[in-house]
């Protein structure tokens, strides 16, 4: 290997262009992969294809021939996994002759279960109930490489919290502000050109409803903060958060 860092040349393969389906047999869970759309990408036909199945710390790797003629090099039995639920795949394309150089990749491709024909879209913000929040009611967690809204499940009727008017009016604008701040100031927006990356999806979501325009390209913190503020204000207006709050507040008085 040559010590060289390349941030730009790797091709991002879209998840929807890869189909991986479960095949149940008496000896265990197998999979079939449709990689025919790799030919739509500008990849050298002789480059090598690998599939990696993973879940938690279980991991298996399968050689899958060449881009020009993808075909499994061995059986596709998922023997490291007791069950098929939650298994994800990576597809890696590496250069022939330039040892281990990665030229294209797709990640987090779900294994389609029997009867499932296409990849379901992830929600923009998933909710998870947590025992770990102590006296906090909610928290945004970025540990899983995308934001999760944690709700304290040690509160009575906790499943209703995220639907309550007081929560919708007070918390969701704050959540939006925190997520955008994280994208811009913590992560430095590294997924902007990857339409499946959560950064891209959130920025697109904001642009669609708010009319705030493009995110400032320069590193001016004031301009970026203004952009976030305008986005949150537009969100609050669209969601009528003040009306929701006032209605709840009257009931409190």
């Amino acid at each position: 290997m040559i010590r060289r860092i390349n941030y730009t040349n790797r091709i991002r393969i879209r998840r929807k262009d890869i189909l991986i389906k479960l095949r149940e047999q008496t000896d265990g869970n197998w999979f079939d992969a449709d990689l025919s759309k790799l030919s739509d990408y500008d990849l050298p036909p002789e480059s090598l294809v690998f599939l990696e199945a993973y879940r938690q710390t279980n991991w298996m790797r399968f050689g899958y021939g060449h881009v020009g003629a993808p075909a499994p090099e061995k059986d596709l039995l998922l023997k490291q996994f007791d069950s098929p639920e939650g298994i994800l795949f990576r597809v890696k394309v590496t250069a022939l002759g330039d040892a281990h150089k990665l030229i294209a990749e797709a990640d987090a491709i779900p294994l389609l279960m029997l009867g499932q024909e296409k990849i379901e879209k992830d929600p923009l913000l998933s909710v998870k109930f947590s025992h770990e929040l102590g006296d906090e009611i909610y928290r945004i967690d970025f540990a899983d490489d995308r934001p999760l809204l944690l709700i304290n499940c040690e509160i009575e009727n906790y499943r209703q919290i995220a639907h309550s008017r007081i929560f919708l009016s007070l918390v969701y604008p704050a959540v939006l502000r925190e997520i955008l701040t994280h994208i811009i100031f913590v992560d430095r927006l590294h997924g902007e050109d990857d339409i499946e990356h959560w950064h891209y999806r959130w920025v697109r979501f904001v642009k669609q409803f708010s009319g705030v325009g493009e995110l400032p390209k320069n590193e001016d913190a004031d301009e970026q903060t203004d952009w976030i503020q305008k986005a949150v204000a537009a969100f609050a207006k669209k969601q009528k958060t003040r009306d929701k709050f006032v209605e709840s507040w009257r009931n409190e008085l």
Partner: protein, 237 residues
Amino acid sequence: MKLARLKTPGMDRFNDYLGELESDPTAEFPVELLTFLGYFEMIDEELDVLPYKFKTRWDAARYLNTLLSGITDAERDINLWAWLTAFYFDVLCPANDAGERRLRERAAYFPEPENYKRYYRHLLLGPYLIYHAHLDYPARAIALLCKPLHIITDVEAQIAASQELVTNRAVVELATNLYYDPKTKTTKPGAGGKGPGSPRRLVSVLNQFDLTWDLYAATTDELMNLLPKEFEKFSGK
């Protein structure tokens, strides 16, 4: 005692107890978690769980991998791990002479197996999963598991928090070659720091390599040869 998993009321009771411990470190462990049938269900009446006092995370991982080898999807069974945590609670959260227990974060006792950045913080599931990922040759992961159960070293925290790194044989072997001293059977001095050559720097460098190279295809020697000079104090080259 036979291997079991906590039922929902048992999970709630255990969680309540952890809450009690936060305000009263002398709160008595609710032994009914392990004796009252409303709180748990037996998984396998042939499987005896032994009350070991594991010296290291490695010891726990090795025993649990043997114990659970016939249990389907054991690593995803939160209720099973909660029962094991309750069973070994005196080892995982020992009381001092005054009867006080020093509680750690909740993730140390209630596992989050689907959270790949936090799963390793569970005092039993973490070592189990790391060992399990290297069942073909567990010794390559010794640098991550050589400490007492309650100590998560920076070597482990840095590598285990990345699903791609902890499952990579070459990377884990590289970490052991760099940071583990087989003579002292523990990590080398300085392996817990944040400076040049530290595990934190190793992960940072590997993440940069990962942008260009297929790290799963690399060998330990290839990775070692790629490392900058700052790692020489650990590699001995």
